[in-house]
Symmetry: C2
Subunit: 314 residues, 2 copies
Amino acid sequence: MPTEFEFIQNLKQKYGLRHVGDDCAVLPKDASTEQVVTADMLVENVDFRLGWTTPESLGHKALAVSLSDVAAMGAEPKWAMVSIAAPESLWKAGFVERFYEGWFELAHKYGVDLVGGDVSGTPDGLVIDSIVGGEVPRGKAVLRSGARPGDSIYVSGSLGGAAGGLALLERGVDVSGNNALIIEKQLKPRPQVELGKLLQQLQIATSIIDISDGLSSDLAHICESSGVGARIYAERLPINKDLQTFFSNNEAFLMALNGGEDFELIFTSREKNILLPESVQITRIGEVTANVGNIELIDGEKSTILVPKGYRHF
Amino acid sequence: MPTEFEFIQNLKQKYGLRHVGDDCAVLPKDASTEQVVTADMLVENVDFRLGWTTPESLGHKALAVSLSDVAAMGAEPKWAMVSIAAPESLWKAGFVERFYEGWFELAHKYGVDLVGGDVSGTPDGLVIDSIVGGEVPRGKAVLRSGARPGDSIYVSGSLGGAAGGLALLERGVDVSGNNALIIEKQLKPRPQVELGKLLQQLQIATSIIDISDGLSSDLAHICESSGVGARIYAERLPINKDLQTFFSNNEAFLMALNGGEDFELIFTSREKNILLPESVQITRIGEVTANVGNIELIDGEKSTILVPKGYRHF
């Protein structure tokens, strides 16, 4: 069975799809503007578990994952649609109303309008499809394909928190108190909308992707799209500091390297020193190389070629 | 538990949604054009059964239902996204590839580009979300809200075929031979894309809606949005002629009146005689009245107030 990535590659080739393969499709809008659109499906017991999340957090996350795709184009989100198939028990329990409360709280933060969608019952589990449309100045959408050897590689925020939160949820750890902070990284991720737009406005990013599958996998997507390689330095990874309370150094490192759903941005730039507002934390973790398709991990004296481990299979 | 219609009305009021409530949302595009967008979710064992449809037909129908929404705005479809959550057994059996073959066959007919979407596994049943974007000259989208007393009411094509097809499938009737024609009305509906665009270009429709829930329900939506009533004549309904092979006259009549998923267009017009190309069949079935919210059915000497029976509940 093909992976999700392979399946989409096959469709792309078979049907000559020009707009598929980045975080969003870029479509013409007007003389000075392009539109970006993206859709993300969240499936019960694949992407979330009802026992682990509140309805409000799920509403937040459903929108956040799509806002993150818009951010990864350097675009500004404008409108959204939500399609939701929910079993009768959730409709009756008021789950769907609370889902929309969480959704709108995040939508209002970014001035995103709900313009449509669909609501349905289902005899099975909850399924949500989140669609967001955004805008970007014409020709300025930042693709995955612009990285060039010599560019520096940056990531925003910290890494591994969402994977750590997931591990705690899987262990059945109490979600209150200090644990809540890291679990929130998994349940209520913060999309990097301001950073994405800023990178586009400053025109300093040669490529951007968001971390949905994991640093190693998503950096591999940039390498594949750009026809380049990458070298990253283990000691530079901004590992989420809260991980050390629960996990060994090695576990935390692997979560930062391979863990999905941090929804931080990876970007490449010709600039070696980037000054951004204090509210935005970015870390230079390595550089783009001409070693096409290979990601080298430098750990002290040791150099290894990474095998991407974050792909989500069906 | 609220109906789908009530749930959306509640959301609209609670969050002040300006773009929700027609077949598509109408969004600004450029100086001369507006964009329309729509999303439709198809849920296994709610909207379709795997035992009744081929993968190709399901791909066709997933796109057709959204194209029908675009047609009901008088707009031209341009791009689409598909999100699909399918169980491992369907991935392995090549079902999803065949689904896309049916999807693309219809998409190519209308020059619609697949620009994105999502693919996922699921432990449960198949769920598809179909998103289509289209374009219409600025200010020319035909809404549900423009019908005025005295307008004539028209429907395209014939009515009840999709409901008849569904009834045959439920009875387990053999799908080959002559039965195939009516069953295809259910499984491979033809969206009225050309007619929708033509009505907009000719500027003769004061309102349009597509028949997804059933003539009585969808006409009620026009009445509610326009603040009007309607009178329709039983003997004028263009009942699908193939129904008479399988059903009594009364059964066929009720299917034409209340049956969903014909994906024909209902429209209102000041014109009493409309000349369209021969390929387009339309029938004048009644007129808009000032009897707000009421639909009168005139059957010979008898007049009854219709209770819409086609609403799809959760």
